[in-house]
């Protein structure tokens, strides 16, 4: 009797929750899961249904239902809670949830008190009108395995963005069934594209004559993960991106059929917001009065902008896409990336320099898909045209040098927003030869192996970034602490240090160190390391892999030139042969040369690395390359006391 009652209640619940007939399984007994899916998994996604019901160019309803069996604590962390973001264009109409035990029996229903509501922006410099609903059963602990079901619905009136589909959202969760359905008025146009073997679309017609597009992924087991050098997620995980053709948001109409259309819409949204007050125009005129070329003018204006503005995150209004006008930025001295870019471009225009807003995916190794026009950006920068060349300006930083893009925006596509639309351009690459560490160390060795080390190092390109940020933000004490943690020596006493920034941009680091165990003394012998102070290389714990691997260009495009010159006490003579190594590979090269003359041991080490994507079959060669480098770096030169 008891059993029957439960199942009846269950059916009612399902009916209430899915009046639109979202199909699917309803028996969540853990025994029903194919054991293949449980292997190595923290959780199994039993059902993940996403329905995007397009009502018109200006409105859609999103329905989501996820049922996840949680197998352990990590699975709980990943899937235990539900987060739903909303803002003035997104209305949440319903959130519900049910918790089932291992047998699939309903144990608990989500109550209103289990749902919390938070503001999205946290700090004072993070202003947003978005909010988050957070639902969970977390007040109580449930024995694993158990199953959680969440259902919610939102109504969207911002049609610039359609939900994307990433059926395998977590590497350690298996998927039993994941579907994405798009329902649209007959003949309604939108665009989509599948990536990384995402399943293909099946089209049909719904009972009411609407077009139905459906993607389904079934029985996806957890793949053995290769921890080291994973490909970026967007190159690895099956997913599909969807974007509108024609759309409306608030009072604006647009379409995203091409990058030109995309740019046009952004341009329209922000048109007329670049007017500057007369006093500012006069100030700008004064700023550039000594400049002889456009480039000089642009650099002066950029410097002036940097000295009077600061970045504040502001996500208000239409998806955070409409900029604060230039006059307001002029008056308050702050703005977000698009507002500061708009202000800078307005200032440049006032002295006759043309320039464009460039939309970009900022961050280390971020890339967009150039073949699918849609919003894949998270940042805006300025691209000025001076003397027939581009000059890239990062407007949210007060310290970045003009035209330096670095790991944040370099080496990727950006969308230039021009008056007649937009076009994709590549930003500047940072190749190994540009990211250099060039060091010269002079070591005066004592009889016992103690050393006084004088080093001068020049860092350029990507290699100068971390040091530049230490200079710009740290106090002397913090700089010292940072250096102590980044100098590759067992123990040392930092006598003196100096970090200076050059224009190129570059950083010069000068250090004087007292090193107690600079060379190791054992009995009558002195063991000296040619690779003192050099960058160490880590070896992965596996030497084979089944998938391609990726050496992030922001970390692996570099050249290290290290020279150490030891003054060895006259009481010692050389015992070993001098190490010399030359290693070449597809990933770069390594060279170590040592010479010894007049009690002076000179060691020169050169490493060139090239980041990028490499095939799985090259992995063994990569590990071999690393092993050889590590071995070469462990080489030592042995001296023994002269016995006269």
């Amino acid at each position: 009797m008891q059993k029957l009652k439960i199942s009846v209640r269950h059916v009612i619940a399902v009916c209430l929750l899915f009046p639109l007939g979202v199909s699917g399984q309803s028996d969540f007994n853990v025994d029903k899961i194919n054991p293949v899916l449980i292997k190595d998994a923290n959780a199994v996604v039993r059902v993940d249904e996403l329905v995007w019901e397009i009502k018109s160019q200006s409105e859609a309803i999103q329905k989501t239902r996820t049922v996840v069996t949680i197998l352990n604590e990590s699975g709980e962390e990943k899937h235990g809670a539900l987060y739903v973001r909303y803002d003035k264009f997104t209305k949440i109409s319903d959130i519900s949830g049910i918790l089932y035990d291992a047998a699939g029996k309903q144990v608990k229903k989500l109550r209103n008190s289990d749902i919390e509501d938070y503001g999205y922006g946290s700090g004072g410099d993070d202003i947003s009108d978005a909010r988050v609903k957070h639902a969970s059963f977390g007040k109580k602990s449930y024995a694993y395995p158990y199953t959680i079901e969440y259902v919610y619905e939102t109504r969207k009136r911002n049609m610039m963005m359609y939900p994307w589909w990433t059926p395998v959202s977590d590497e350690k969760s298996a998927v039993e069934l994941s579907t994405y359905k798009i329902k649209a008025p007959a003949g309604f146009k939108f665009r989509f594209k599948e990536y990384n073997n995402a399943p293909a679309m099946v089209k049909s017609t719904d009972a009411d004559g609407s077009d139905l597009y459906q993607w389904t992924l079934k029985d996806y087991a957890v793949r053995k993960s290769d921890d080291f050098y994973p490909l970026p997620q967007e190159d690895r995980v099956p997913h599909m991106i969807v974007a509108p053709s024609e759309f409306e948001v608030q009072d604006y109409k647009g379409n995203f059929n091409t990058w030109a259309d995309f740019g046009k819409f952004y341009h329209t949204l922000n048109a007329g917001r670049d007017v500057l007050p007369a006093s500012i125009l006069a100030e700008i005129k004064n700023v550039v009065k000594t400049a002889k070329s456009d480039r000089e003018k642009a650099e002066l204006i950029y410097k002036w902008m940097q000295s009077r503005s600061r970045y504040v995150s502001i996500q208000l209004g239409i998806g955070g896409w409409q900029t604060i006008d230039a006059t307001t930025v002029a008056n308050t001295g702050y703005g977000d990336c698009k507002a500061l870019t708009n202000f800078t471009l307005a200032a440049l225009r006032s002295v006759g320099i043309q320039g464009y807003t460039a939309l970009i995916a900022a961050g280390k190794d971020e890339q967009i898909k150039p073949d699918f026009p849609s919003n894949q950006f998270n940042h805006a920068i300025a691209c000025a045209l001076v003397d027939k060349d581009t000059l890239w300006l990062e407007c949210t930083s007060q310290t970045t040098k003009p035209d330096f893009m670095g790991s944040f925006t370099g080496g990727r596509y950006a969308l230039l927003v021009t008056s007649d639309g937009g076009r994709l351009v590549r930003t500047q690459d940072y190749k190994s030869g540009q990211n250099v560490r060039n060091s010269h160390a002079i070591v005066k060795l004592g009889e016992t192996g103690d050393g006084v080390v004088d080093v001068q190092v020049l860092y350029t390109g990507l290699q100068h970034e971390s040091r530049a940020s230490v200079i710009n933000s740290g106090s002397k004490e913090e700089q010292k602490k940072w250096l102590l943690n980044h100098i590759n020596l067992p123990s040392l006493d930092l006598q003196r240090f100096e970090l200076t920034q050059g224009q190129d941009p570059s950083v010069t680091e000068k250090l004087t160190l007292n090193v107690r165990n600079c060379a190791t003394k054992t009995g009558t012998r002195l063991f000296v390391k040619p690779s003192l102070l050099s960058r160490p290389f880590e070896l992965p714990s596996v030497s084979e892999r089944s998938s391609d691997f990726y050496l992030p260009v922001s970390d692996y495009n570099f050249t290290d030139l290290d020279t150490v010159s030891y003054e060895v006490p006259a009481s010692y003579k050389l015992e070993t042969t001098l190490p010399a190594f030359q290693i070449a590979s597809a990933f770069g090269s390594y060279e170590l040369k040592t010479t010894y003359e007049n009690n002076k041991l000179i060691c020169a080490r050169k490493v060139v690395m090239n980041g990028g994507r490499y095939g799985s079959k090259d992995f063994a060669a990569w590990v071999d390359f690393l092993k050889k480098i590590r071995k070469a770096d462990r080489a030592q030169v042995v001296f023994v006391e002269n016995k006269l």
């Binding site: 190595d40 352990n72 604590e73 919390e116 509501d117 503001g119 922006g121 946290s122 700090g123 004072g124 410099d125 993070d126 202003i127 007040k139 109580k140 602990s141 000295s307 009077r308 600061r310 970045y311 504040v312 008056n331 308050t332 001295g333 702050y334 930083s397 007060q398 310290t399 710009n472 933000s473 740290g474 106090s475 002397k476 004490e477 700089q479 602490k481 102590l484 943690n485 067992p490 123990s491 006493d493 930092l494 107690r516 165990n517 190791t520 003394k521 054992t522 009995g523 012998r525 063991f527 880590e538 070896l539 714990s541 070993t576 042969t577 590590r630 071995k631 462990r634 080489a635 030592q636």
Partner: protein, 679 residues
């Protein structure tokens, strides 16, 4: 050979408690010089501060507080009752670009459902001062630029961005936070010190006679001004008006607080003032005591439903009580069974605290609770099993030191169980799944705690961990000098806190996680037959991981082999990097790390040179390092041990500690020379 680094010190005692003295004693050393006083006007700036480009006290600081002011007063409102108003006023010079985000301010405050439970912000004013063309330009914060955001159901945040803030600007803002006393009944802690230097940090509080606050000072700086004057306080209600005391505290030229490794928590070292409400005496009504003496604290706890009340609930534990009682009558066995039951059943939600969350019965049913829930139910269960068991209150490391001379409930944030069986006593914390009986997790190792017996007065007990971070590594191998290879076995045994850490990381994880971690440690070795013994079977015993290995020595050349015999457990870096130390070192637990190596040489080779043996000791039996290499027949025996038994070291002892590890690193880097015999 033995090196004594320094003669034994006379005062090896830990002096940390001296640093925080009850408030009234503190005032004896103060001197106030009226001419040094600084009372700026809101909205008015001096030119010199604007012209400053670097703070003389700290030339690379990215900002300096020119003025940092707080004032707390009390008033009465007919609708909302007693109100506490905290007036904040700061003036900051921005010296570097990285300080610009200080011009973005967020003030979160409590927002209950009824108007009597809502805090609010009033009199918010903000200014930015710049020097433009040598003219002082002041920009005022516009009212419309102030945003109020509902952060959560019980919190609202007032946010604003001061305009025209740039490198060189001075920003200034002031506001009052008004809190009904039923929302917040004591002022927030006031820190005189922060991440950037402060030229003038001042705190004022005027306390009406009917309120009694316990104030405590902490930190390493002395007050420059400390005034305490009787004042007639009018709060706006005849019942409450009457004599009170106005306090003023100032510290000038406060340096930035720089965090150092091996400290408990920054707040133990920062200069600050803390408050706890002791009592309210409303004329014509009964005096309401909150806590004042340790007796009071204990009574308050005993009477509180969330503590003493919970200790009186036991019905829900009857089944398990009977089950354990039926198994054994031996008290120690009963203790172990009860402890294991709670350990296995309960999942710790990660929260400490002195409050039972939703009650211990509910927590027991939910199989989840905070540390207080878990250990109170353990206490109840053990009492039901006729053991002498009492709650033991303490302050976790991240919560800061416990000051015995200052009775305050807020001193504590953690509860464990204390059991006495015959003459033996045990601390039990069942929130830690893999701690053996008697072992407290590292977070709870923080000096003293207070035992709260069922009857009679409580007492302080020192928490002295019997265990340390202990690790023993052993290698037995054969060396082939021709090709420089080594073949043998490697074993690691984890004890004490190393075992606890190991079990927390690996016990519930995947099978191959241990192997992967091992491979990461020694990536160049070929590892086979990894075996793990005593993963969790006996928590009192060590975890033993062993394997076979094959390794290659890089520095082999025909006829001669250079070889560092500390093949595992080698200390390659000194954990103490800075030359000097301001604050005491607190390691938490002791260290015991050993390595034993036995290397067999083939016929025809001999040890040409070996490192000298060394013994280094820390003063006051604080620690010992030994290193020895011997040759016995064709076997090279290596033995090294690092033992640090003291966990706290004063700043003046820091050089010894640094030198101790310096020697370790130096010895551990030394190499043997093996040569082919000339026949």
């Amino acid at each position: 050979m033995t090196h004594f680094l320094l003669p034994i010190r006379l005062s090896g005692l830990c002096r940390r408690n001296v640093l925080s003295i009850p408030f009234l004693l503190f005032s004896l050393t103060f001197h106030a010089f009226a001419q040094d006083d600084f009372k700026p006007k809101l909205g008015l700036i001096d030119r010199a501060s604007l012209e400053m480009t670097a703070y003389p006290g700290d030339s690379t600081a990215d900002a300096v507080y020119l003025y940092d002011y707080g004032k707390v007063t009390f008033s009465y409102d007919n609708l909302k009752g007693l109100l506490m108003t905290t007036n904040i006023w700061v003036r900051v010079k921005l010296l570097k670009e990285s300080a610009l985000d200080r011009a973005s301010v967020a003030i979160p405050h409590y927002m209950g459902s009824s108007y009597k439970e809502q805090e609010w912000i009033e009199d918010l004013k903000g200014y930015t001062y710049n020097l433009d063309n040598n003219q002082i330009v002041r920009t005022e914060l516009e009212k419309k630029a102030i945003r109020r955001e509902k952060t959560s159901d019980t919190q609202t945040t007032v946010k604003f961005n001061l305009p025209n803030a740039k490198k060189g600007s001075i920003i200034e803002y002031s506001y009052s936070l008004v809190s009904p006393m039923n929302v917040r009944h004591e002022p927030d802690m006031w820190a005189f010190q922060g991440s950037v230097p402060r030229k003038w940090s001042e705190y004022n509080i005027t306390i009406p006679g009917f309120l009694d606050y316990k104030m405590t000072m902490g930190g390493y700086l002395t007050l420059d001004i400390h005034k305490q004057e009787p004042e007639n306080v009018s709060v706006g209600h005849s019942t409450y008006d009457g004599p009170g005391i106005a306090y003023r505290f100032v510290i000038k030229d406060v340096p930035a607080f720089v965090n150092e490794p091996y400290i408990t928590t920054a707040s133990d070292y920062v200069s600050k003032i803390n408050f706890e409400l002791a009592s309210i005496t409303i004329p014509g009504e009964m005096k309401k005591n909150f806590s004042q003496t340790w007796d009071n604290v204990e009574r308050t706890l005993d009477e509180a439903t969330w503590f003493g009340g919970e200790l009186r609930k036991s019905g829900f534990l009857k089944d398990i009580r009977d089950e354990i009682a039926a198994k054994t009558t031996d008290p120690t066995e009963r203790m172990n069974l009860a402890y294991k039951h709670i350990q296995d059943r309960m999942k710790w939600d990660g929260y400490s605290g002195l409050f039972s969350g939703s009650g211990i019965k509910k927590a027991y049913d939910n199989r989840k609770g905070n540390a207080c829930d878990i250990n109170l139910m353990l206490t109840v269960l053990l009492r039901e099993l006729d053991l002498e068991c009492n709650p033991f209150l303490l302050s976790t490391r991240s919560h800061g030191y416990l000051h015995q001379e200052i009775p305050m409930i807020e001193s504590f944030n953690y509860v464990v169980a204390h059991v006495k069986v015959g003459e033996k006593t045990y601390f039990l914390d069942a929130s830690e799944s893999y701690a053996k009986p008697g072992m407290l997790p590292e977070r709870a190792l923080n000096g003293f705690g207070r035992l709260i017996p069922k009857k009679g007065a409580g007492k302080f007990l020192e928490i002295i961990p019997a265990d340390s971070q202990s690790k023993l590594e052993m290698i037995t191998a054969t060396i082939s000098p021709e090709d420089g290879t080594m073949k043998g076995s490697y074993s690691i045994s984890y004890g004490g806190y190393e075992a606890l850490d190991w079990r927390s990381e690996f016990a519930a994880g995947a099978e191959n996680a241990v192997q992967d971690a091992l491979k990461k440690e020694v990536p160049e070795w070929k590892i086979q037959n990894v075996s793990i013994k005593n993963k969790t079977e006996d928590l009192k015993g060590t975890v033993n991981v062993s394997c076979n290995f094959e390794a290659e020595d890089e520095n082999a050349s025909p006829g001669v082999l250079y070889f560092n015999p500390i093949m595992a457990g080698r200390w390659t870096k000194n954990p103490f990097k800075s030359k000097e130390r301001i604050y005491p070192v607190d390691l938490g637990t002791g260290i015991s790390a050993s390595f034993i190596g036995n290397f067999t040489l083939p016929e025809g080779y001999a040890l040409e040179e070996m490192p000298k043996a060394e013994i280094v000791v820390l003063p006051d039996k604080g620690g010992k390092f030994s290193y020895q290499v011997r040759q016995v027949g064709n076997v090279i025996q290596v033995n090294t041990m690092i033992q640090v038994s003291r966990t706290r070291f004063l700043p003046e002892e820091y050089p010894d500690l640094k030198e101790f590890f310096e020697r370790v690193v130096q010895k551990h880097a030394q190499q043997l020379v093996i040569k082919k015999k000339n026949i």
